[in-house]
Symmetry: C2
Subunit: 328 residues, 2 copies
């Protein structure tokens, strides 16, 4: 399973993708069935993206190839444990990543984003029309994959998570440029991120025929993930995140560090890169970054504490840790 360059997966263009070290540790702890499954999820994603007309093939494959950590499909695989039927498991894992990919494509349209993970976005290469339609199609294909499992519960879980994602997007647009209460910010994290993590766990358990016990774990890990992502946007450094600090703020997305810092600054007044960096420094000076991180760590701790004693417990703990690790 390991190679000189560390554990790898065959990527969508046939290349060997060396796994992120944290992901590699999770995969290893998950047991010997996980690496081949994760590789097959990749294949499935490429198949789905490539099998629905050339236009989709071009843009969707670009999106899928852009990669990412595949944390959501990994959660599906881990939540399912080693004895779940393979084909339904692949569909469930792929469906969650397809919904995620659909959201990214639409987000890039909304955010006017030209790069994601260092590659040009569909929006940048093909325009917002193509990107909107590509997102819609990825979204539909997620359901088309999952429905083949013939489980109403599974479709329900994905449709709830998808609705939450879209609602999260709406709430974020509604909250744009506004300093909202922490509860409202957390609702946004829940909708935009945590619900899909939750659904990933539920889907894995459902495919395995296991009683549902991991949804809350997924939800908390998702909350921590989003909070820490927002912290990273303020803390930088840019070399690490691939973008300038304060990008969220410049986009009108007011996140936990800014809210907790309580600087009395109108988000609308932050309208240049330089000013955004200054505000990031000011936020850091208040200790709001530490406080935000602490809140995320509480979610991670609660997620791990409540984990039932399953064979895959260790691997799931590592998933929770990996969310934090990005920032340490």
């Amino acid at each position: 399973m390991t190679s000189p360059g560390g554990p790898s997966l065959r990527g969508p263009e046939g290349e060997n993708r060396v796994l992120d070290p944290a992901v590699a540790r999770i995969v290893e702890a998950g047991g010997p069935h996980v690496p081949p499954l994760l590789a097959r999820v990749e294949e499935r994603l490429v198949e789905v993206a490539g099998s629905y007309g050339e236009v989709l093939a071009e843009h969707a494959t670009a999106t899928i190839s852009a990669g990412g950590k595949r944390l959501r499909p990994l959660l599906v695989l881990l939540a399912a444990g080693p004895d779940a039927p393979e084909e339904p498991l692949l569909r469930a894992a792929a469906s969650v990543e397809l919904v995620h990919a659909a959201t990214l494509v639409h987000d890039d349209v909304l955010d006017d984003a030209s790069l994601r993970r260092g590659r040009p976005t569909v929006y940048a290469t093909a325009g917002r029309d193509m990107a909107t339609a590509t997102g819609d199609l990825l979204f539909s294909r997620a359901f088309a994959q999952l429905v083949q499992n013939e489980s109403v519960d599974q479709v329900r879980a994905l449709s709830r998570a998808s609705s939450a994602l879209a609602r999260g997007e709406l709430v974020q647009r509604e909250d744009a440029w506004r300093v909202v209460p922490v509860e409202r910010y957390l609702l946004r994290c829940e909708l935009k991120t945590a619900r899909l993590f939750e659904a990933a766990c539920e889907l894995g358990e459902s495919v395995a025929g296991a009683p549902p016990s991991l949804g809350a774990f997924g939800r908390r890990v998702g909350l921590a993930f989003q909070i820490l992502d927002d912290v990273l946007d303020v803390s930088g450094p840019a070399e690490r995140t691939g973008k300038h600090r304060g990008t969220d703020l410049l986009d009108g997305t007011v996140t936990l560090p800014f809210i907790l810092a309580d600087l009395g600054i109108d988000p609308r007044s932050v309208d240049t890169r330089e000013r955004a960096e200054e505000v990031c420094d000011a936020i850091a000076a208040t200790g709001a970054l530490d406080e935000s991180r602490a809140r995320a760590l509480e979610y991670v701790a609660a997620a791990k504490d409540d984990l039932p004693d399953l064979p895959q417990r260790r691997a799931l703990e590592l998933v929770a840790d990996s969310v934090v690790e990005r920032y340490s």
Copy 2:
């Protein structure tokens, strides 16, 4: 069921919506169970739009309220016949209209459209971000409604139709400003319109527990509907369609009349309202409008001919006729 102003339904804002005369005739032929069901579909749509946060409530209700003929939910109700269980039937009918509404909202973003059916679009009132997210949410809510029927076949039918819609959108963008072969144009009609009509029939039958026999009817009616819609954009008059002639062409959408007219004009050269109207006149002079209409009428005739001998046959024939009637 009838009132002095003709048959009506309670609309989403509690107002009495007087039915389009063609729809009223269909509803009447459908039997006494249809009008109350159609009224309950309206209620359900308003409920769904209003029950998922205020932001959705505002924009989605506006979209839903803008109305339209509700031809797709009507097909669901008619295909089901009089003995289908009511609650599953309402969900199926609502889900089809929600997918349609989601598509309209996204189309308005893609087309930069400020008005639809004489009302401002979500895109115009709330911007493209809100409109994209509203469309995504309507789309998710469609699946959330339908999955409650606990039928994998039904979710599959809707997910196929949704994928087709999104793919149709992609193909249309790919074909923009190009004179494509007729077959390619028909593929677009199939993806963008016919598949959802087909799914509407399949869903109705599935809810009723009837053997599938009406999908092809729905598909052909959908094809005719789209072709005639495209004819109308060229034939006008504007008073009737609420928009100028040649709007599709100005948007880069090259449709059957233009293709059949074979004028040797580069679609890209049509860049003003005046020029578009001139080209519409030139198309009409070639007889391409009549030829396009004739093709649509063939689909309508085939749809009616192949109808099985069901109690709702007369009502379904009227649906097919109503598609033509808009243009007579």
